[in-house]
Amino acid sequence: MHNSIYDKRVRISDNVIRVLIYLSAFVSVAILVGIIGLVVIKGAPHLSWQLISTVSSSAKNTFGILGNIVNTLYIIVITLLIVTPLGVGGAVYLNEYAKGGKLVRAIEFTIETLSGIPSIIFGLFGMVFFGTVLKLGFSILTGALTLALMVLPIITSSTQVALKSVPESYRAGATGMGATKWYMIRTIILPSAMPGIITGIILGIGRIIGESAALLFTAGSSYYLVNDFFGHIFKPGGTLTIQLYLSMTKARYDQAFAVALVLIILVFVLNRITHIIANRMNKEKG
C-alpha cells in the first residue's frame, strides 16, 4: 500500500478559476488599450497646430482650444495656490503637532468624507456658496475655490504619507541639537517630505484636468481669450474637459476626440512624472 505522488490530478474547478483570473486581467488591460487606441485613432486626424493655437470662431468656422487651455492653466494655478498651503499645513498639524483626541479624529474623518463626496455635490455647493453667497458668480475663481475643496484631501493625504515616512531619527536628531519644532519642520521635515508633497500636487493637477461636473455650474463654459490678466479670474471660463463635454452634447465627435486625445496625453505625462518621482524616492530610501 503506497501513496504515489506521481498521479497528477486535474482539478477542473482550479482550471476554470484560473481562466477567469486571466480573463479578468485581460479585460482590465484591454479596456485601457481599447479606450486609448480609439481616442488616438479618432483624435489624431483632428489634432493640429490650429487646434491648440487658436480660439473657435464661428465666422471662420474653425475649432480651437487655446482659450480652454488658458482657462485650464488658470484654474490649476489658482486652485493649487489656495489648496497647497492648506493641505500641507493641515498634514503638518495632524502628523507633527496633534496628539490624537476627538478633534483630530473628526478632522481625519472629514478629510475622508471630503474625498468620497461626488464632484457634482461640490459643484452644487460651489455654485451656491462661492457663486451666489460670496457673489463670485460663474467665474474661474468660483471654479478654482470649488476644486480647492475637492483637491484638499489629495494633498493632505499625500503629505501625511510623506511625513510619516520621514525617519523618526531625523526628528530625534534635530530636537537633540536644540532645534525648535518649527525650525525642525522648516529645515528638515518638509524638505525630506517634498517628493511626496509634489506627488500630491501632481495628482491634484490630474484631478483638476479631468474634472467636469464640479466646474459646469461654477466656472462655466466660455472659451474666449481675455486680455485682462487678473480680470480673467472673475470671468467664466471652461476647461478642456468642459469643452469636450460641450462638443459631445453638440454631437461634434471629431472635436470631442481631438480634445480627448489632448487630455489623455496630459494624463499620461502626469502619470509618468509621478512614477519618476516615486522611483527616485524609492532609490533614495534603499
Partner: protein, 252 residues
Amino acid sequence: MENTKIKVEHLNLYYGQNHALKDVTMDIYENKVTAFIGPSGCGKSTFLKTLNRMNDLIENVKIDGLVELDDENIYDKKVDTTLLRKKVGMVFQQPNPFPMSIYDNVAYGPRLHGIKDKKRLDEIVTNSLKGAALYDEVKDDLKKSALSLSGGQQQRLCIARALAVEPEVILMDEPTSALDPISTLKIEDLMEDLKKKYTVIIVTHNMQQATRIADYTAFFLVGEMVEYGKTRDLFATPQDKRTEDYITGRFG
C-alpha cells in the same frame, strides 16, 4: 533494520548566485526522528524545505540532484506537488493558524482533499487534536477562533492540522523556537508518539533538543552537511573537527 524513507543524493541549491546547499547526500529513515542542527544560515531550513518543495515558491531558486520519497523522485515533472505536500506535512517556526475556528483549521486540509462528510471530519478533527495532545484543552470550544489560543497551543494546533491530512513524513522547522519552555516540553514529549506513525524531521538551533528527541542528527555548516549519524554517536564521538567545535560551543 532501518527503512529508508527519503533518499537525497548530490543535492545542490542556488539562490541566484548564492550556492546555498552543497552536494548533500543522506538517507532519512522511516519512523525515526531526524534532527538537523547547525548555526543560523547554515542551510538546514533551506534543506528541510527542499523535501516538500516549498522552495518552489521563491523566485530565482535552482535545484539539482536527486530527492526520492519512497523511490519516487519528488522533482520529477510528473509529480503533483499538492500530493507531495499532503504526504510530507510541515510545521513552521512561527505558529501560523488560519484566522478561523479551531475546528476549521484542522478540517482545512481534509476538506481541501475532498472530504465533505461531517462525521468523517469530526472524527479526523478529534483524532488529530488528540494526536497533537491538544484535544483535552480545546474539546469544549472547537468553534472558538484559533487566534485566541496561546502560542504553544497554536503550534500544537498546527501540528494537529498537519496530522489531519494523514501525512507520512512531518517536517518541523524550529517548531519550538518561538515558544516558552513548558510549551516546548509538551511538543518534545509528542515526538515519541509521533514517530510511531510518522517519519519526523526537525530543524533545531538547540542542540540539547536534538539529543533529547532525535534518533539521528545531521550537522550543517555553510550549506554543507558535515556529519550525519545516530544522535548518540554524533554527540559522543564526532568524526569531524568542525562538529566537535560546534558541539563544544567553540562557534555558532
